[in-house]
Amino acid sequence: MRTSLLWRYSVLAVAMVGLLGLACEDNGDGEGSGKLQAVIDRGELRCGVNDGVPGFGFLEPDGSFSGFDVDFCRAVAAAVLGDAEAVEYIPLSAGARFDALVQDEIDVLIRNTTWTAERDGAQGAAFTLTTFYDGQGMMVRSESGITSIDDMEGITVCVLRGTTTEGNLEDRFALGGISYTPLAFEDLDTLEAAFREERCDGWTSDQSQLAARRSSYPAEAGGPDSLTVLSEVFSKEPLGPAVRDGDDEWFDVVNWVVIGMIQADELGVGSDNVEEQISEPSSIDVARLLGVPWEGGEDLPDFALGVDRTFMQEVLRQVGNYDEVYERNIVPLGIPREGTLNASWREGGILYAPPMR
């Protein structure tokens, strides 16, 4: 029984080291080969998402994720790995997201993130085509009688810390010479709890987020109608996926998945008709999108994006095109696509896909 303590500790130490090795999942990125190869080798996409914004990124009670941004994660996984479910979602706070990206914690950040010069430059992120055009707004309780920012002298505003909105808020109120108290929260849930309990009078964030939160505002607290989003939009917030600077191949893949989904919407190809379009594409642009021969001819030139030329087939099959993703996630929030910036350029919006050819 009384073996030497030193001996026992040594055994324990060796066991611990061995265990750490066992628990350490095999996710080493091969030297030299880029992120794309690393993801393929791993067989899974690590996607940084939000877990608290219904419609964009939300953690359901069963542990699964849903939302607009989450669908783009799935689309990238479908394109690269052929399986939209091969995604490891990593929920990130606003403050932690760029460090997670730059330090390779995640492969791609799709977390309602605004494309800014500082982030593109100093923070080491690279933004793809914007998936959602947004702007910062202010939400108040309807009964407060506040109709514009200039009415808000002396109020308290809830905001997420470490976001562009925190800075925009300061800029806007400084511009109007309005005094206010910002109450900065680390996570959105605590923020909403505070707002619901009337700890603050205003809630500022991207308009889409406000709408999302408003649409699901619980009836117990007054329901959506008890809230008003002010008409003033005081910033531009183009939201889109971001990858780490310095890996063009990977950037291209993510970027063209986004473009492909918008393109598919423009061409009217979606999950419901992708099979027939594969066997018989309705136009040469559809053939290019899906990577199939046009009218039985020779193969079209490969884009050489690093993924198989048919990558959009799986995306459309498993996830759908831009409009489907939008309908599925954003419309239930009460934000229809028509008449907003996110409508197709043909319908008065600014969503415009570079040609896939």
Partner: protein, 401 residues
């Protein structure tokens, strides 16, 4: 004095007994009577409010809906079976240990049974009831068997050895079950399971590190002792949450780019941070224990011809550790509670799950229920740990020379 009164009173009718007891313990003077009245009013109100909340006004549906999230987090569907064998092993070992060593006091046993029943009520759905039932049956079975058959028999010593070995292998077994043979990636470990895994791994590692640094600090070699002291002071100087953030933001940049070390997941980093952080605290505790061993012990060991290393490992360290059991277990309880801090970084532990549950639309305003429930989960484990520590102290005669 109360004990004496009880026995004398035992020969009197109960109402006399009760009156005597009440007079001695509640109304011994005017001041005490006032105190009793005030305390009764305040305490009674709090108890009433709490009971009313728990039994009447609370809506425990939020726990039911989020049971999986709170216990397992985002652990993949269909892989839950991996959790059961370690839990069974744990219950089996607990039963055996209780049978072999334990003398749980009746009051502790009541608390234990009530907590188990409460947890059972919340954990059990469908097949889980059966699986948990198997575990409880194992616990009771091994307890009964070891208490009735093994204890006092010639196999007792062997059984004790096997049990100790079993405890030593439990954490490795747990990790193996979770991660082994095509298992679940650590980033998907969640809920209370995550707290348990991080806490148990960090506890073992922190004990090893703590002893090493304590020995280093107590070393007669000035350089070794200074460096150890510096490490201990720097680690203890900053809050744990700061170290966790450092593990999250800064550590990857400092890990060598070999063996995929830079890529280690958040859970592993949390284990590392907890081990090194709590190791510094444990080092201080062990150092206190080392100082409490009388110099005569060292001299006696030298006198019978033991070298410095053996004196330390065979004579001084065992006594030192025995002397600081209360403080050590206290620190381990702190470690257990501190694992909740991983909720502040991206991990969905029990507290993270609680926050997610609070955010759900259909359970608006249910934060008290969720937080109380999760607090209760943590409390139960911590309470059991502190009671076990008291038993251990009694068994080893800590504080008695």
């Amino acid at each position: 004095m109360a004990a004496a009164a009880r026995v004398v009173a035992a020969r009197r009718p109960w109402h006399v007994r009760a009156r005597r007891w009440a007079r001695a313990n509640l109304f011994s003077s005017g001041w005490n009577t006032l105190l009793t009245a005030v305390t009764l009013a305040v305490g009674g109100y709090i108890t009433f409010a709490l009971l009313r909340f728990v039994l009447v006004s609370a809506d425990w549906g939020v726990i039911e809906a989020n049971r999986r999230l709170i216990f397992l987090g985002r652990f993949p569907q269909g892989e839950e079976w991996r959790v059961w064998p370690p839990l069974w092993a744990f219950l089996l070992l607990a039963g055996a240990s209780y049978g072999l060593w334990g003398r749980l006091r009746p009051r502790d046993a009541v608390v234990f049974v009530l907590s188990s029943a409460f947890l059972y009520a919340f954990m059990v759905e469908g097949a889980n009831a059966l699986l948990l039932g198997i575990g409880l049956a194992l616990a009771i079975g091994t307890w009964a068997a070891s208490d009735a058959l093994v204890r006092g028999s010639r196999y007792e010593e062997l059984a004790k050895r096997i049990t100790v070995g079993g405890w030593a292998l439990l954490v490795p077994f747990l990790l193996f079950m979770l991660a082994g043979f095509g298992g679940v990636r650590s980033s998907l470990w969640g809920g209370l399971l995550l707290n348990v895994v991080v806490a148990t791994v960090a506890m073992e590692a922190a004990l090893v590190l703590g002893v090493l640094f304590a020995l280093g600090r107590a070393s007669s070699l000035p350089l070794v002792s200074r460096v150890s002291a510096l490490y201990i002071e720097v680690i203890r100087g900053a809050p744990l949450i700061a170290w966790i953030f450092i593990g999250w933001f800064v550590l990857p940049a400092f890990l060598p780019p070999i063996l995929g070390l830079q890529d280690i997941g958040l859970v592993l980093r949390a284990m590392l941070i907890f081990s090194f952080f709590e190791g510094a605290y444990i080092a201080e505790i062990v150092r206190g224990g080392l100082q409490s061993v009388p110099r005569g012990q060292v001299e006696a060991a030298h006198a019978v011809g033991l070298g410095a290393v053996r004196t330390m490992t065979l004579i001084v360290l065992p006594q030192a550790l025995r002397n600081v059991i209360p403080a050590l277990v206290g620190q381990l309880i702190t470690l257990w509670k501190d694992t909740s801090l991983v909720a502040i970084i991206a991990l969905t532990d029990a507290v993270g799950a609680a926050q997610a549950a609070i955010a759900q639309r259909e359970f608006i305003g249910r934060q008290a229920e969720v937080l109380l429930f999760v607090a209760f989960l943590f409390w139960t484990v911590a309470f059991v740990m502190s009671r076990l520590s008291q038993q251990l102290e009694r068994a080893l005669g800590v504080g008695q020379r």
